[in-house]
Every structure is written in structure tokens, then in C-alpha cells.
């Protein structure tokens, strides 16, 4: 079964709120012109789409303050077009927005979000390349590849994980990663009504799909354990240069990557997810330090893709900073910050190329926010299960008084709260103490972890939230990404830029 996405207008309306000043309007117009980049005449040949998995607005602000100070900017914040993206998913069997059977789920996972921008449809959490009724939908990377573009997919996660897989596979369930099929992991009768034959792509392990469908020319990331000798043979049969070896489970190294040549390159640098930058920095002699950084992989992918343009066509590259999300789930602020910085360094690689190239659209965004990351005032603390509910009483103006929505206090609400979700050590309330970090603005000698450090960070939960995520962009067409957009709109904007969704 398949469904063709109805053609939407490629233009995303930017609604100016009533009351906006004339000077602000002029500024917006100027920004739109600047967004076109220099000397590209509005003609886009390449799209580089970078996403920080789990990267909410606070992740960006905290990383900025940590590394560049209060008056600094991350590279992504220098991109001329800015906006915010709604990220909600839908429930299984739901229709699309506007249809009578539309049933939203306000907090997405990475799979549903990836399908939204890759295929332009809302789907259920765990679904990849299928809509909420299980119908296969083409991805932007497939459409770009079919149209003659070069394609690349880079991630610090297992390459079979949701975000990269969202461009290169069709699966009822994101857990169907491989190396082997399993009915429990791959089938979803709640969607399809009955188990599908194992020949159906939607229940075929994602690793098997990636190794055989040729959707991405350059594939860099982790997850070697998902691939085997047959996958390696299939890759080589298609002309891929395979770094390391799935057959012998030999991981590739940054030296292998540096030496890589050819139009098709497959390189996985860890059997699982790649290693956090903090560890590699602190342990330069460890085996994991042989993994390339995200900016290094991004630079190499651009080099490989831009060197092999065919018939005047450019390339489409997706780059994921995956460990922002994974370390946010773990409520590890130090690693979260460092992964956000590494992601921003990859943005710089993309932006530098785009400025030099003049025909490249760069989009930087996230799939969802993770863990309710917050910057709190120095010297304060937070507790998701508030010890004392707000009084909601204003003696000066009783009109402000109301009954608190949560009248009890001091313990979790058994009807509404799942309790503390904070990874290892969750039973210890001391672990809710804020993590503190020095910034460049702090006096010399102020140490990370001390009460004197000015950046105080907390997490609300151990899971995703429904907050909108930021979006930054550069290049012709990026003005469509100013203001508020939905994650499915990204399919239209990128598809129109490449001319593959006409």
C-alpha cells in the first residue's frame, strides 16, 4: 500500500502579528534579503539539513553562555533566518491534520519527527517512512537520489537509529533495526491489522534496507553491530567504499575517513552510538578517540558529495548531532553542553561551505526538545514535584486569586505524575541539585560545579517534551522558515529548493 502526499504549496506563510512596528517589518525584509546569501541569485543546488536531536531553545542558549558568554553567539545563531517549529506527532491510525480522523499526540519521538520532515506527513511515534495508517511514503532523500542528486546521511548515533533511518528506510517500528528480523520488533498489527509478510519493506530490518536501497551515497555514523557480512557484500556490490568491516565487526577510524575516496562511502566508527566528545577530549589515548567528530564527518561528507556532482545536480546532506538527546535523557548537563557545541561546530562547517559555494541552503533545527532543560537563577533550585503549590492568592487584587490546579503538595500526584525519571540515582533527591558551569564572563578561578559558577542548569524530566524547537537557516528560500512553522513544512521547503516535490 502506498500513498502519494498531496502537493502543498511550497511557500510557508509568514504571518506578521498586528502591532508589529514598521521598523521591525523593514528589519524582517532586510533579514530575508540577507538570508539569500551572497551571489546565489536564488538558485539552490545543495541543501545541508542539520539537526540537534533533542535540542531545544534552552540547549542553544546554555551552550552559547557556556562557550561564548552572555554577549556571544553560537554559529547557528548567526544564520539570518530564525523561527520556531511545532513538533507534535499523531496517534496510530490517525488522519492528517484537517482530516476528520485526525488524532494528535503532543509529544513526538525522533522517528515521528524524522518522518515529518523527510516525508511531509504526521505519523505515530516509532514510525519511519510510513504514515499513521502504515502507508509507505517517499522520503526527501529518496526523491533527491531518484532525481540525480548526490545524497549523504551523517549521525553520531547508530545509523539505523530513528533520525538517520527516517531518510533511508520505511518501517512500522523503529526498533526493527537489525541485524535480524523479529516479529516483536518489526510487526505492528495495531496499524496493519495483521502481520505483514517478511518480504514487505515495512517489516524488513532497517540495516538491511540501508545496505541495499542505495538511498544515501555517503553514510557515516555508528551502529556497526546492526550490519553483517551479507550487508557488506551488498554495499560493495553497489560500489560503496566500505570503511572498516561489518563482516569482521571492525570499526572504521578517523584515519580511514580522512583517506576515503569515491562516490559512495560507508563508514561506521562504533558498534553502537558514537562516543561523547567529553570522553574523547579527556582520554585522547582511548580507542574511542579514533572516532571522528561530527564536524569532521560533516566536512568529509561535503567534500565527497560536492566532488561528484552529476549533470549539474548538487547534493542533499542530513547531519544529526544525536548525543544532545541521549545525554539529555540521562540529565547529564556537562555532556549535553559539549555535544551541543560539537553540533554547532558542524554547523560552522556547513555554513562556511555555503558562503563559499553561493548555491547552498543550510537549515539548522531539532526534532524535539528533550528533558525540559532549564537555566535557573543562580542560587535557586527546582523540583518537578513542587514541595509547595502556588498560593494563587492576591490580597491586593482578589481577582487574581484562584484555586490551585494542584491543591496537594510535598509528594508526587499518583493520578498525574510518573515520579522522578532521572536515570541512575533517581531515588536520591540530591541528584536534583542544579549542575553549575563557569562561563567566559565569570571571574578567573571560578570552577565548574561550584556555587560561584554563573550558569545553573536543571532538567524537568528524563524524556521528550512538547516544546517548539528553534530553526535557523541561510540561503535562498530560508525566508520561508521565519516565524512559526510545522515540522512537516520542512519537507515542502527542502523539496521545493531541490525541485523534487514539484
Amino acid at each position: 500500500m502506498s500513498v502519494s502526499k498531496s502537493k502543498r504549496s511550497a511557500g510557508v506563510a509568514v504571518v506578521l502579528l498586528a502591532g508589529i512596528s514598521g521598523s521591525a517589518l523593514a528589519a524582517a525584509s532586510t533579514t530575508a534579503e540577507a538570508a539569500s546569501g551572497h551571489d546565489n541569485s536564488g538558485r539552490i543546488k545543495n541543501v545541508i539539513y542539520l539537526l540537534g536531536d533533542g535540542m531545544g531553545r534552552t540547549h542553544v542558549t546554555a551552550a552559547r553562555e557556556r562557550y561564548y558568554g552572555a554577549n556571544g553567539h553560537l554559529v547557528m545563531e548567526t544564520l539570518p533566518s530564525t523561527g520556531q517549529v511545532s513538533t507534535y506527532a499523531v496517534n496510530k491510525k490517525s488522519g492528517q491534520p484537517g482530516e476528520s480522523d485526525f488524532s494528535p499526540n503532543l509529544v513526538t519521538d525522533s522517528a515521528s519527527a524524522a518522518t515529518a520532515w523527510s516525508s511531509g506527513v504526521k505519523t505515530y511515534n516509532a514510525a519511519l517512512g510510513v504514515d499513521a495508517k502504515g502507508n509507505t511514503v517517499p522520503t526527501l532523500m529518496e526523491l533527491a537520489k531518484n532525481d540525480g542528486f548526490r545524497t549523504g546521511n551523517v549521525s553520531t548515533a547508530e545509523i539505523t537509529d530513528a533520525t538517520p533511518a527516517g531518510q533511508m528506510s520505511h518501517a512500522l517500528a523503529r526498533g526493527c533495526q537489525g541485524p535480524t528480523y523479529s516479529a516483536a520488533a518489526c510487526q505492528d498489527p495495531a496499524v496493519t491489522g495483521a502481520p505483514l509478510p517478511t518480504s514487505d519493506v515495512r517489516v524488513t530490518p532497517i540495516a538491511d534496507q540501508i545496505a541495499r536501497n542505495g538511498t544515501a551515497d555517503v553514510i557515516l555514523g555508528g551502529g556497526l553491530a546492526r550490519f553483517d557480512a551479507d550487508d557488506e557484500a551488498a554495499l560493495r556490490d553497489q560500489g560503496y567504499t566500505v570503511l572498516g568491516s561489518p563482516a569482521t565487526q571492525t570499526v572504521a577510524t578517523k584515519s580511514d575517513l580522512a583517506a576515503a575516496r569515491g562516490s559512495k562511502v560507508f563508514g561506521l566508527f562504533n558498534k553502537g552510538n558514537l562516543t561523547v566528545e567529553k570522553f574523547k577530549r579527556e582520554h585522547p589515548d582511548a580507542a574511542q578517540a579514533q572516532e571522528p567528530t561530527l564536524p569532521t564527518m560533516t566536512s568529509k561528507a561535503i567534500e565527497l558529495l560536492s566532488a561528484k556532482a552529476r549533470g549539474g545536480k548538487g547534493f542533499y546532506l542530513q547531519v544529526e548531532g544525536a548525543l544532545i538527546d541521549k545525554r539529555s535523557h540521562a540529565n547529564d548537563a556537562a555532556q549535553t553542553l559539549e555535544e551541543t557545541k560539537a553540533f554547532d561546530d558542524a554547523v560552522k562547517v556547513a555554513l562556511d561551505f555555503a558562503k563559499k559555494d553561493g548555491h547552498t541552503l543550510v537549515i539548522v533545527t531539532a526534532d524535539h526538545e528533550c528533558a525540559g532543560f532549564n537555566i535557573i537563577e543562580k542560587g535557586t533550585y527546582t523540583n518537578a514535584e513542587a514541595a509547595v503549590p502556588p498560593a494563587n492568592v492576591d490580597a491586593g487584587n482578589p481577582a487574581n486569586s484562584s484555586t490551585p490546579s494542584r491543591p496537594t503538595s510535598g509528594a508526587k500526584d499518583p493520578a498525574r505524575s510518573s515520579g522522578i525519571v532521572n536515570g541512575s540515582g533517581s531515588a536520591d533527591p540530591k541528584n536534583f541539585g542544579p549542575a553549575t558551569f563557569r562561563t567566559p564572563d565569570d571571574a578567573a578561578g571560578v570552577q565548574d560545579g561550584s556555587p560561584e559558577a554563573s550558569l545553573w542548569l536543571t532538567y524537568l524530566s528524563g524524556n521528550h517534551t512538547g516544546a517548539d524547537v528553534p530553526i535557523f537557516s541561510y540561503g535562498a528560500g530560508s525566508e520561508q522558515l521565519q516565524g512559526s512553522v510545522d515540522n512537516t513544512d520542512l519537507f515542502d521547503v527542502v523539496g521545493a529548493a531541490l525541485g523534487v516535490t514539484g
Binding site: 502506498s2 537509529d161 516483536a184 542505495g214 535523557h329 533517581s426
Partner: protein
Amino acid sequence: MTPSPRWTLAAVAVAALLVGFVVTRVAADDRGPGERRQQVVSAGEVPGDGARTALPGLAPATGEPTLPGFDTARPAAGAVARVAGPFDDRYTWSGLRLGDGRVSGDLTVTSDVSDLLELEVVVGFYDARGDLLGTRRAVRHHTLHQDRAGAPDETQHVVVGVPGGLRGAVVAAAVGVPVLVNE
């Protein structure tokens, strides 16, 4: 409190009892690395709208996942051997034992855990000669509606009973993990 994960026991196929495992990806023949399986083009529908759904050369799976090491494990009487799998660096076993008509132990996932999406443990049962008599599996499948109270489920208590027909013959066991997806 975190609820106990829901484990489903699946009896091994009768055919596997008689002729060994149905191996879907690592053939139990003499094929070496790099040698190809029979060329079978997926019968998955090609929508014609750009989605790449045909996977040339891939033989569709013909059964549930297992591991080749079960055929050669030959565990000592009373022992529970470990059979190598693709994710052995992501978990540890503790308290693994064969007794009271079952194999039991605690499997702790030691890599990133924010969600344990998929876990399958296969247990092989052996007679006094070291011959494989059959297998059973325990399956943990994450569902959207699973209660997420408490910390992520890093440790899974695994209990797999000896199949009724084998009770008198089983003297040893082996365990392996062919499926593990966590994030």
C-alpha cells in the same frame, strides 16, 4: 515503582527441535564471509512514488532470530553457557542459573538507556551428550502505552522455563541475545 516488564514466552518450533535452528541471516552451511545468499528480490510493493522498497538480493526472513553459537555451545552439565551475539558489549548477566525447571538471571543493559525498545533472549536446552534439544525465547517489546514511571528499565529479570516435553532430558543450557534496541 517501575512495573515488571511484560515477558512473552514463545515455544520453539517443532521443526527446530528436530533439525536445529532455522537461521535467517547467518546460514548454518559452509558459506564464508562475503559469499552471497540466493538472489531473491523483495516482494514488497513498489509504490512508484519514489520510495525505494525493493531490496535486491535480500532473502526475506523465515523465522524468529537466533544465533549460530547454539549449535556448537555444548555446555557442561548444570551450566548455563553464553552464546555470542551482536550486542554482547551492551549488557551483563548476573545470577544466571539453571534450576527448578527453568533458566533465570538478571540482564542489565549497560549502554545508553533512556528507553529499552526491544530485547529478546534465546535459551537453548541441552542433554547429557551436549546435544541441543530445543530453544525458547523471552521477548520484551516496548509499547507506547507502557507506564514510564521511575528510572529507565536497565535490569531485566529473565525467566525461561524448560519446555514440558524436555524436562527429563535437559541437563544444561545456553543463553544469547540476538535482539537489543535501546536509546
